[in-house]
């Protein structure tokens, strides 16, 4: 079913994440939104973790032991990847918003994606072998 202006705002917002039939710019836009939501979620988690400090040293040490498990390390890697992508895309959007390199926006996206993937790989190797 097609999505139209008479639909509710929430169902329309799902279109932000629908890449079907869309071009490279939308892929960049979707990744930007997903990483922004992910990083905001992480910020809340981070505050909860810091809240553990208030429960005393033992509780905090126990918590630290838990988050050293591979699944948490992988979660941290996702945060690094999201931060890298979001930051680099921020530079792309910032440049094009001042009228710089607008016709090159697709190339800029491919480059930033390559750098973000490479950076995440390097971080991943270091995090899992440390």
């Amino acid at each position: 079913m097609s999505e139209h202006a008479d639909k509710s705002g929430i169902s329309q917002a799902f279109r932000w994440f629908d890449p079907r039939g869309r071009d490279v710019g939308t892929i960049a836009f979707i990744l930007n939104r997903i990483t922004a939501l992910g990083l905001t979620f992480y910020l809340f988690l981070h505050l909860i973790v810091l809240g553990q400090l208030a429960k005393g040293a033992e509780a905090y040490d126990g918590f630290l032991a838990t988050i050293r498990s591979p699944i948490f390390v992988f979660g941290e890697l996702l945060v690094v990847a999201a931060g890298l992508y979001h930051g680099l895309n921020g530079i792309r959007v910032g440049l094009t918003s001042f009228g710089i390199a607008v016709p090159q926006q697709k190339k800029l996206f491919y480059w930033l994606l390559a750098i973000a993937v490479l950076g995440s790989l390097i971080f991943g190797i270091r995090m899992f072998t440390a």
């Binding site: 932000w16 869309r22 960049a28």
Partner: protein, 244 residues
């Protein structure tokens, strides 16, 4: 003897909506020449299968901007979209009305707000002939660097950029790509009053750089570039004001 098959059988799945009734899809299986345009097939549905089907078209050569629809989920001017480019023999073409506009009936959407906004930024729909002849030399457009000239850079007001824009999907108050591009074409230097219209929350600064408008524009308007160029102009005006 040519082995190319000149008749294909395709299935057209067409969005239907009348009044307050729930929308649905109608299916029409028909023989087509793959070198015909999608609009030809839609017209044939109307002529031979269902006279109640409503859709917009006029020029049949990408000039009036009336025939914009979603073809398999992508904004296309159906009068210049070859059937062979969107389907294979035996396949299905899904036809929907443009998004981000209220639907009047079937494939016809209400573009009146969009047209009003275009007028608001100086892109009038009807220009008296005398005025157009006098003003024609001023209509020449540069590519932005003052050297080249763009062909076909006039917006045909098809609305496809608005349909493709993810921001217009959730914010009906956003002026939208064509309107902002129209403001840029009108020129802030020639019409300083446009600054107030574009330099606001739902104007220039609402764009989130998805570049879909430029991807679907059939007329080389490049609205995304024009939005960014307007931003550059507005930012440099503000910057200059700081040192006055």
């Amino acid at each position: 003897m040519s082995t190319t098959k000149t008749k294909w059988t395709v299935n057209l799945k067409v969005y239907r909506k009348k009044g307050q009734k729930a929308p649905y899809y109608d299916q029409f299986t028909m023989e087509v020449d793959p070198d015909e345009y999608v609009l030809d097939a839609i017209e044939r549905i109307w002529a031979f299968h269902d006279r109640s089907l409503t859709f917009r078209h006029a020029c049949h050569h990408s000039t009036c901007g009336a025939c914009g629809m979603l073809v398999n989920g992508v904004e296309k001017l159906t009068c210049i979209t070859y059937i062979r480019d969107v389907v294979e023999d035996g396949g299905t073409i899904v036809i929907d009305p443009l998004r981000n506009f209220p639907i009047i009936s079937d494939l016809v959407v209400d573009m009146s707000l969009f047209f009003d906004r275009m007028e608001m930024v100086g892109q009038r729909q009807v220009i008296p002939i005398a005025e157009e002849i006098v003003g024609s030399s001023q209509k020449a457009q540069s590519a932005g660097n003052g050297k080249e000239y763009l062909r076909l850079s006039d917006c045909i007001e098809c609305g496809m950029c608005i349909s493709a824009c993810p921001i217009a999907a959730t914010n009906p108050d956003y002026l939208g790509p064509a309107v902002l591009a129209g403001a840029q074409q009108s020129g802030l230097d020639k019409k300083p009053e446009l600054l107030q219209i574009v330099d606001q929350e739902n104007g220039l600064w609402r764009c989130h750089s998805a570049y879909e408008c430029t991807a679907v524009c059939p007329s080389n308007v490049d609205p995304a570039w024009r939005i960014m160029d307007l931003r550059r102009q507005v930012t440099s005006q503000r910057f200059k004001r700081l040192f006055r």
